[in-house]
């Protein structure tokens, strides 16, 4: 069997027959990991579904206090970063080293941009005392973000502050864990840039780029759900 091996490659581990088999095993392994990630975030989404169905008004009102414009810009930033990541994988597949490095760095810049905007939003919430922790004495006054916020106090739905706080618990847990994944992603991309600079990737062997791409896109998908669920459920309130 061993003599049927036609291609030998520096990146080929000894326990695989050929580079194709190794690549498929890697993809499958990465997906097994991503499935555990789906379950991990799934738990948070499930908690969100339960509490939102219990306190629909409070969730809409709390969501209305988030900065939708920044959330929207961040969604576009992440979609752009997914595009540059996909193009980086393409460059690795056809063996273009310089464009590969450029696209990886671009992806990192966009990822960092996302985190900076997220940080500005967190700061905004800190100033507004919306962070549900002791040191940031929690209080919630409903100040609509929209320009037509002149509607009278009487038209606004009555809200229970404690239930509004539940939304912010979930908001910070979900976006916080998502941001942590972004930070880990940036670390992974840094490693890739160094590996690419050393010429470790070829059209035959570039699994690290491909698999890190899967991870990056997965984190993007999580945000695709977080954006409408956290930012947009109160957008129709004035």
């Amino acid at each position: 069997m061993a003599e049927t091996t036609t291609t030998t490659h520096a990146g080929l581990a000894h326990h695989f027959d050929d580079i194709e088999q190794q690549r498929e095993a890697g993809t499958l392994g990465m997906w097994a990991f991503l499935v555990t990630e789906v379950m991990f975030f799934g738990g948070l989404f499930l908690a969100y579904i339960l509490y939102r169905s219990k306190y629909p008004v409070e969730f809409a009102v709390a969501s209305n206090s988030l900065n939708v414009t920044m959330g929207f810009i961040n969604t576009l930033v992440l979609i752009c970063s997914s595009l540059t990541m996909a193009l980086a994988v393409y460059c690795a597949q056809i063996g273009k080293r310089r464009p590969l490095i450029i696209f990886l760095v671009l992806t990192m810049v966009l990822g960092a941009t996302f985190l900076v905007i997220k940080g500005v939003e967190y700061h905004e919430k800190y100033v507004e005392h919306h962070i549900p922790v002791r040191f940031n004495t929690y209080e919630f006054k409903w100040e609509p973000h929209s320009a037509e916020g002149a509607s009278s106090q009487a038209e606004r739905p009555a809200v229970e502050t404690g239930n509004v706080e539940m939304f912010f618990f979930l908001y910070f847990a979900m976006t916080g864990v998502h941001a942590l994944h972004m930070i880990i992603g940036l670390g992974v991309l840094t490693t890739l840039v160094f590996m690419a600079r050393r010429g470790r990737f070829t059209p035959e062997y570039h699994s690290p780029v491909e698999l890190s791409g899967l991870y990056w896109h997965f984190v993007d998908i999580v945000w695709i759900f977080l954006f409408p669920l956290l930012y947009l459920i109160g957008a129709h309130l004035h």
């Binding site: 194709e20 499958l28 499935v35 379950m39 499930l46 339960l50 929207f72 996909a86 998908i221 409408p228």
Partner: protein, 98 residues
């Protein structure tokens, strides 16, 4: 199975589709559709996620075994949500004899 190289053209098309859908979901959210708001938002999110999984993540071009793994992940997620909700949503339907 040889590796399938997706052309950048497809990536650009998917990128534009994702951007358009993001703008749509933002615009629709401003209109009060009652319960339909959540349905529309989630439908768009699922479409966007599917596009990313199939094209950016190359699942469309992967082996059937990858499909099974991906499908199993979302299937188990559906089980978790469905069974939990079947508990919470039905509480209070029955009065239990004391």
């Amino acid at each position: 199975m040889r590796e399938h190289i997706v052309s950048p053209k497809i990536y650009y098309v998917i990128f534009i589709a994702l951007t358009v859908l993001t703008v749509v979901t933002w615009s629709v959210a401003k209109i009060d559709l009652g319960r339909m708001n959540a349905v529309v938002a989630l439908t768009i999110a699922v479409i966007k996620a599917t596009l990313v999984v199939l094209y950016f993540m190359h699942v469309r071009y992967n082996s059937r075994l990858t499909w099974v793994f991906v499908g199993a992940g979302f299937f188990w997620l559906a089980i978790m949500v469905a069974l939990t909700l079947s508990d919470y949503m039905t509480r209070g339907w029955l009065t239990i004899a004391r």
